[in-house]
Symmetry: C2
Subunit: 337 residues, 2 copies
């Protein structure tokens, strides 16, 4: 393993993403990717009394599912990296308190899933671990209650707003296997361009995605066309347009390769989510369900996955602060480089 | 680097803790360790309008201080690992949004400081980075407001309660240097023994500290007497007694080596903090200020540092949940093993 360029780490042993799993809520189950998820829930509570407990159950069962599918005994999994959007990450810590695996709590807002995969890749590549499970969750109802307004108020959502994905994604990274392989990680810097609208997360996060993407391309000496797909986490429609425009200012045209999990998970015409999906589970479920499958089918062989996060809370917005963004990138390829 | 035993990683290249810094609030400035901190503040606001902004300023200036003391250019620092107790870790992300260093957000409640050091150690040891800055903060006023009651209410605190330390600690881990060296890390599992009293965190976290400590000793085949000091993060008086009693049930007597940062930072007689200090900054400032100095003076040569965290929030308590605990251990020694 070695650091190259400004902020990219090149793998030496190329960790394998040996298994993935995803569980989604009812709205995601009506979307275009429904058939790729392991389980589609019929309601937001899943038999629990509160949304927070339901979210904990979702991440717990997603991790149980990925372990069951992997045929790896949970006692052979060395570490768990996980996080979520709830205050003090209670979805992960309550959901995963019984798995009995050493636990690293991660907070990168909606970038948590890829942040976890970046950390796990370094652990696997350096022989600190053989198998690591990564997971991230979000829940529309718990997120609205915590970040915006109680759902009972029935507030109108502005056109720039995004719909937090209900669900969880999970992957197991292993030291040996047949791929897909992690080849590079490019952890991102915090970028704050002064956006203050908590209902326009795409605009707040796009500059961070731009910074990480351009740095990754420069560090690896790759062009956007190297990749079959460059997939961002949850910029949605507005943030994706901003990212593509920003790239053109640096001479990069990513329009052919770029798509966003927030655009993929919901049907723009039939499902009224305004600017698309968001949340830790947006990239978590779309990667673990859809993109991982496409890589196995060799429909995508070279993927740059860039998760984006908005590092704010309701108090910071009430105190007039802007919204710092962050984006972490991971290069996943079917062949070792 | 290799994994040994159940959950311990043995370093191969032994990262050096090349510098440390700490800033504390007014109450900590009146405590017995005041002379060891880089800066003692005279009030909780430090010229800011809110406690949250003050906490952000504290972590920002602590990181600036550790970088200035280190004589390492900030452009040579590869990554930053940081976190805090505020919802969505806004102290770190707002405080550190201008440092322009790739950023990993970490959440381990009050175990965040050592969790960050564990992650950074793996990065350094595996040549993924040459210099990494780690930091964690907490603030009595922002923590009381968020986890318990607004200070303006003047609520009475029960005897089991602990006093959240106002301050921040920061260290730089480097690939080369003269020590002290990281020799082992033992990341902890989530342990929930059913404690529900949010005013008795020591009792909630002690079983996790016990689990991690015993696992570390078994994995490394060491006895408590190997260490000059076994220092826990913020068990306080009650939690420390529980830990020492639990150890005796397994045949380990740690009474001679064990102390707790929550007991060290405040004067038990003169400063009325009930069960002692707590918060991310408790172990953060006591290690970065006091313990790091003792290691340089060779008064401690072999230190086992165990940070403890309570992975709850106010919503989970309101919903009747118990408090899961976690503890991460790092072995720091003046000689490479």
């Amino acid at each position: 393993m070695k650091k190259i360029g400004k902020q990219t780490i090149q793998m030496e042993n190329f960790p394998t993403i040996s298994q993935s799993a995803s569980i989604v809520g009812p709205k995601e189950s009506e979307g275009p990717l429904a058939k790729y998820f392991d389980r589609c829930l019929e309601d937001e509570f899943w038999g629990e009394k509160t949304w927070e407990k339901a979210e904990s159950k979702i991440i717990k069962e997603t991790v149980n599912t990925v372990i069951a599918k992997s045929n790896i005994s949970s006692t052979d999994i060395d570490f768990c990296f996980a996080g979520d959007l709830l205050n003090q990450c209670i979805s992960s810590s309550f959901g995963l308190r019984e798995i009995n695996i050493p636990f690293f709590g991660v907070f990168g807002a909606c970038s948590t899933f890829v942040e976890s995969m970046c950390l796990a890749s370094v652990f696997i590549d350096s022989h600190a671990a053989k198998h690591i499970v990564c997971a991230a969750s979000s829940h529309f109802c718990s997120a609205e209650k915590q970040f915006r307004f109680p759902l009972e108020l029935g507030n109108q959502r502005p056109p720039t707003s995004q719909w937090t994905v209900t669900g969880a994604g999970s992957v197991i990274l292993s030291s040996e296997g047949n791929g897909p392989f992690v080849t590079y990680i490019t952890p991102g810097k915090i970028v704050d361009m002064g956006i203050k609208d908590a209902n326009n997360m795409g605009a707040a996060m796009a500059p961070a995605a731009f910074d990480t993407l351009v740095t990754h391309l420069q560090d690896t000496n790759r062009k956007p066309s190297y990749y079959d797909a460059i997939i961002t986490g949850d910029l949605g429609y507005i943030g994706s347009d901003i990212l593509e425009d920003l790239c053109k200012t640096k001479g990069y045209n990513i329009n052919h390769q770029h798509n966003d999990c927030g655009k993929l998970i919901f049907d723009k015409e039939k499902q009224d989510t305004h600017s698309g999906g968001s949340g830790c589970a947006c990239i978590g479920t779309v990667f673990s369900g859809y993109l991982y499958q496409l890589m196995h089918e060799k429909k995508i062989n070279k993927l740059l996955l860039i998760a984006t996060g908005a590092l704010m809370n309701s108090t910071s917005s009430q105190q007039g602060e802007s919204i710092p963004g962050i984006a972490h990138a991971i290069s996943i390829e079917n062949c070792k480089i």
